[in-house]
Amino acid sequence: MLMRAAIAGDEAAYRVLLEKLSQLLRGVVRRGFAGVGVPRDDVEDVVQDVLLAIHLKRHTWDPAMPLGPWVLAITRNKMIDGLRRRGRRPEIAIDLQQFDIEGEDPQASIDAYDVQRVLSSLSDRNRDIVQSISIDGHSARDVADRLGMTEVAVRVALHRSLKSLADMYQEKAE
């Protein structure tokens, strides 16, 4: 439901969906990594990588199908990438059967270091745009006014930056 609204471009519905998903994902990734001995700090990196992938690949979800298996498939891929980034052998069975909701999670406020490093490789302007919209919570409109850009240009820059964040995650996994 929310995903359908999100694909139609509803920002508020999309944000609610991503917040819910991030809580689910954190539980899934943490449980999956627990048996492999991956530090908890690394969990948040994978969660963010999954959220980026969900965002950039949401047109590959078939609205006629349930959202869960699609999200889990992406999560599984990104957990394997996460292990690869850390040079561990990825041939580990990851049990994604449980997909329960966990309550409020303090980890949402932990910084993920990979994204931070990746952010620093963006151009100054693009990093400014991403940080204004994410950390400072400004709207694309406000950022456009402040930087003397059109709102469309800000949105395009934001989209490109998110793409390069995902690409840089991917490069590190190879």
Binding site: L18, H59, T60, L72, A73, S134
Partner: protein, 213 residues
């Protein structure tokens, strides 16, 4: 960066969604096939008695059906493989349809023509053309389907690339089959797979690198 902050950025980018992957693939494959068709019509073209052959020559028509029986299942498989939640399952057996048809054709051919013509029918007239022109006619759909897959999220990039190669070769071979003067299933079974193998291997190699996401 905190996850909640990332979510804010993602939500602000809500309107950037790409067209559904199934549509992207259909358009790409259609455009690639059309480009190959145009090139084919300008350089080679089907046999001049194409329509007559369709109703009079069983072997000619059978050859075209076999090639389409590769291309059509490969298209649907590529569409499945472009999504992250596809698991290779029984649907891969659709790829066995064309070889099975071809085996049937070979059996019928061996039963219906004298043994001393088998060799000549198998070697045919222009096997070299067959092996080179099929990959050339596959190129446009090949590039198109790999680009479309890049916008997808294949969990199995190597398989997705390989089946993309099969699909493009299926399109190229269908076009070439309408031109090729050798209609015997013996010829088809010996020489056509070379073009398919080339494109499949190329697709797997490129897919394993280029289709990661």
């Amino acid at each position: 960066m905190k996850t909640d902050d990332l979510i804010k950025a993602l939500a602000a980018d809500a309107k950037s969604v790409e067209p559904p992957i199934a549509r992207t693939l259909a358009i790409a494959v259609g455009a690639g096939a059309l480009l190959s068709l145009i090139g084919f019509m300008m350089a080679l073209g089907p046999r001049p008695d194409f329509f007559e052959l369709l109703s009079t020559s069983v072997r000619y028509t059978f050859k075209l059906i076999v090639m389409l029986s590769v291309a059509i299942p490969a298209f649907f498989l590529v569409r499945c493989l472009s999504r992250p939640d596809f698991k290779p399952d029984g649907s891969l057996w659709w790829l066995a349809l064309a070889p099975a048809l071809l085996l049937l054709g070979i059996a019928l051919e061996l039963a219906s023509v004298p043994a001393d013509t088998w060799h000549a029918r198998m070697i045919g007239h222009n096997s070299f053309y067959c092996m080179t022109i099929i990959p050339i006619l596959s190129l446009a759909p090949f590039v198109a389907v790999l680009y479309a897959l890049k916008s997808g999220a294949p969990t199995y990039p190597t398989i997705a690339g390989a089946i993309g190669g099969v699909l493009s070769a299926g399109i190229g071979a269908t076009l070439y089959a309408s031109h090729c003067p050798d209609d015997s299933p013996l010829f088809v079974a010996l020489w056509y797979p070379v073009g398919f193998a080339v494109m499949t291997i190329l697709g797997a190699l490129i897919g394993s690198r280029f289709l990661r996401w």
